[in-house]
């Protein structure tokens, strides 16, 4: 079942991709003063969370990005957790496109009204979603949230746009 309401993430990616291409890769590893993370972490986090929410929570499959992504890019990680195997900016930019294709496929198959096996409740008192549509909606907001942070980081590092 194709539900057009679920396709918003794909529109968001069409806005995000050219914005990322306008970023000087030399800025990707620089942490703006006063912050914990950098653009490289933000992009890896955005990819990891979208895969976890849509492929994992909504579709009940395994996210296709390597398991190691969680150790580099999950909540509460930072560039201090990076190692020699952590993808660099061009590799992440490539992974974003590959991931978008995977998500497009899964979004075509999801039933928005289906209940989740378990509600999405990251901490007590915070219930984010009980249905597939709710997860997709939260993923869309999260995607915007980190896109906004990246736009700010880029400006703070002296980039334009």
């Amino acid at each position: 079942m194709v539900d057009r309401d679920l396709q918003g993430l794909l529109v968001a990616r069409r806005v995000l991709a050219p914005a990322l291409d306008a970023i000087d890769p030399a800025l990707a590893n620089r942490t703006p003063a006063g912050f914990r993370n950098n653009l490289r972490w933000q992009l890896g986090h955005l990819i990891t969370v979208a895969e976890t929410l849509l492929l994992g929570v909504a579709a009940g499959r395994r996210p296709a990005v390597p398991e190691a992504y969680r150790g580099w890019f999950a909540n509460d990680t930072s560039p201090a957790d990076f190692d020699a195997g952590t993808p660099d900016w061009p590799a992440l930019r490539h992974e974003l496109d590959a991931s978008t294709e995977r998500l497009a496929e899964v979004l075509r198959e999801l039933d928005p009204a289906a209940d989740l096996a378990q509600p999405l409740a990251p901490r007590p008192g915070l219930l984010l979603a009980t249905t597939v549509a709710g997860v997709v909606g939260y993923a869309l907001w999260h995607e915007g949230h980190h896109g906004g942070r990246m736009a700010c980081y880029h400006r703070l590092l002296g980039g334009n746009g």
């Binding site: 918003g8 915070l126 549509a133 700010c152």
Partner: protein, 158 residues
Amino acid sequence: MPTCPLDSLLTTRQLVAHSLEAVPEAIVDTIPPGCKNNLRWLLGHVIGSTERLCLALTGLGEVGLAEGWAGWFGIGTSPADFTADTPDWAALRAELLASSARLETAVAGQDLSIALPEPWAPRGITFASTRGEAVAFALWHEGLHFGQMMTYGNLLKA
């Protein structure tokens, strides 16, 4: 129980409202170095954009905000466009709650699969061709600007 993008928008607004409680009012008018706007502009911009997308564009209602809102908070404006009548931080936070109530009243339970009179494609990208897509775009746009707000907050409280 989110089942449509409106529910997600109202749910994430609860997260946002909670985060905004921790923002000291002293920083809301400060434009961080290198940035174009401040927290007050971003909050007003989000409220105005979401009402325009979810109510006016979908045809489900009328924007319920003060006249002049687009002149203070529309695309391409900045805090330089503020006047004595521009809502302050407390008024904006109250408006966020009032606006959520208006959105719920007008949009909840409506058929969001209905096509817009014409696709909304402001930058050559079709952002929305149905009501639901317009609401979904608003949800992403809210995330985008609240991400910026949280970044401004981190920066200015540091």
